[in-house]
Amino acid sequence: MVLQADDLWKTYGDRSVVRGVSFSLAAGEVLGFLGANGAGKTTTVGMLYGAVIPSRGQVTVDGFNVRSQGRRARQIMGVVTQEDNLDPDFSVFDNLRYFASFYGITGRAAQQRASELLEQVGLGDYARHRVDQLSGGLKRRLVLARALINRPRLVFLDEPTTGLDPDARQDFWRLVTQLKQAGCGVLLTTHYMDEAQRLCDRLLLLQKGQVINSGTPLDLIHSTIGEEVIEVDGMQEEQLQPLLTQFQTWGRLVGVHYLIAVPPKRGDELWEYLSDRHPAGLSRRRANLEDVFLRLTGHSLDEN
């Protein structure tokens, strides 16, 4: 295992923000931390790479303890933090070249590596630009390139696509897929369902600092919700609640509509029953991670 976290706790005063998180990550695997804001994702990731000191528990990276053997652990990891901490005092190229020196990569080797990475992330034409001349998407690419300067075996991506436009997100996803294919372990935190579903081999769902469920995206969807959901508008909760009991399924009011998990054996029967009542809106779609999250936590990922 390239990353192993055992019983991680973080307490500030009498408030525990991370409570007993344990998991492992293999080489070539993308593991996603999915949770609403304040669920403890960033604090947990901080403990994994050493920026947050755990109140209890330990983390090992390729067998090296992140606290007691931090230098060796950080030698083989790359970190993309939530905030852009690129060096505004240097050009795009020098951001990579000089960052390489912190890994003992200097001179021609550093220049070559910086050039390679800029090409790889599509920033070859921006080498001489100042960092503040880059768009948000290009900056995120540069942060990723910088995190790869040491050819890490493990990469932390903490909400790497927040604030990016759809095209930039797609580009970023392509790079993450390449990392995975190259055998790099990737830990991704996100509150974008499509990102988690598209990129992650496995997901940990966090709520209030605890892992409330884990598995592959499809497993989580199927085991928690099923194949499909129905969205109903314009019917009273009092009318729908008895239905849930009758069809032995789960449902919940979400905003203006009611969301109902389609029971595997009596799905068509439920659909016909609802259609016959001619509600203002009725639709049926495939279940997704947002539905999983709603069922497990009682609120949407977008709710703070």
Partner: protein, 273 residues
């Protein structure tokens, strides 16, 4: 095509686990030196122009009025008295402002410290690299002033060379005070508080422009304990050797140790929660 993302195999020569290595300190120091180097022409202006302006202004402006000064039983030309004071001021301003303003920006705005701490460098190395870089800025200013004083005929080369350890101690002390400020303040405007409560009073009252003996008590005693007074007294060793000089050396060392220790204690919790 073989991708460039292929991870490295574990290194044959694992890095040292010691929290403070010369390589790590140098790497952190070098980051700032590279920024300085890129704009060296602009950067070399303040340490050269500032003392030159003061020496010219005071040299031509005050020397005819002041003439000579009595310093611990020795009569010296005013400019020969002023030159070590100017070196001390160069150390104070450059080391302190680099530690306070520039390090604060790298700590709080640019998050440069945070970025470097994701690499194999340790907190001790980044902190020491920053401290030594701020001290380097003070040394550059002091040596530039010293060279001007030598060219002016106010100081010998030997005096300047022998003063280097004292300048280094002063630079480290003020760099530590600067980093302590960076660790304490929460907004950049707050740096004005120590500037106006400590730095400007030191600049004017610590015997840089005139002998402190003319100050009334207890201002005299208080000013005498401030680190700039201690540094300037030490730097005037060729002009006079007052009895308190060994205490001045110990005092400056104490200021340096205390400021570095407290800076360490204030910055660490801002990086590691």
């Amino acid at each position: 095509m073989k991708t460039d993302f292929t991870p490295f195999t574990p290194t044959q020569n694992p890095p040292s686990q010691a929290p403070l290595t010369p390589w790590g300190v140098y790497a952190a120091w070098q980051r700032n030196a590279r920024v300085y180097q890129a704009t060296w022409l602009v950067n070399s202006l303040p340490p050269l122009s500032e003392p030159l302006i003061y020496l010219v202004a005071f040299g031509y402006g005050l020397t005819p009025l002041v003439g000579e000064i009595s310093y611990y039983g020795t009569t010296v030309d005013y400019l020969r008295f002023l030159a070590p004071g100017m070196m001390g001021i160069g150390v104070l301003f450059q080391s302190y402002s680099e530690g306070a303003y520039a390090s604060y920006l790298r700590l709080d705005y640019q998050k440069t410290w945070h970025a470097i701490l994701t690499t194999p460098l340790t907190f001790s190395e980044v902190f020491t690299g920053e401290l030594l870089w701020a001290a380097t800025k003070g040394m550059i200013a002091a040596l530039a002033t010293g060279l001007l004083a030598i060219l002016w005929g106010l100081m010998s080369i030997t005096t300047l060379v022998l003063s280097i350890p004292l300048l280094l101690l002063g630079s480290v002390a003020f760099a530590g005070a600067g980093l302590l400020t960076a660790g304490l303040v929460r907004t950049i405007d707050q740096i004005n508080v120590p500037i106006y409560l400590l730095i400007v009073p030191m600049f004017t009252l610590c015997g840089t422009y005139f002998p402190r003996e003319t100050l009334p008590s207890p201002l005299l005693e208080v000013a005498g304990l401030l680190p700039l007074s201690l540094l300037v007294d030490l730097l005037r060793w060729p002009l006079g050797l007052p009895d308190h000089l060994p205490w001045a050396l110990l005092g400056l060392l104490g200021w340096a140790i205390a400021s570095i220790f407290l800076a360490w204690r204030t910055i660490y919790p801002r990086l590691f929660r």
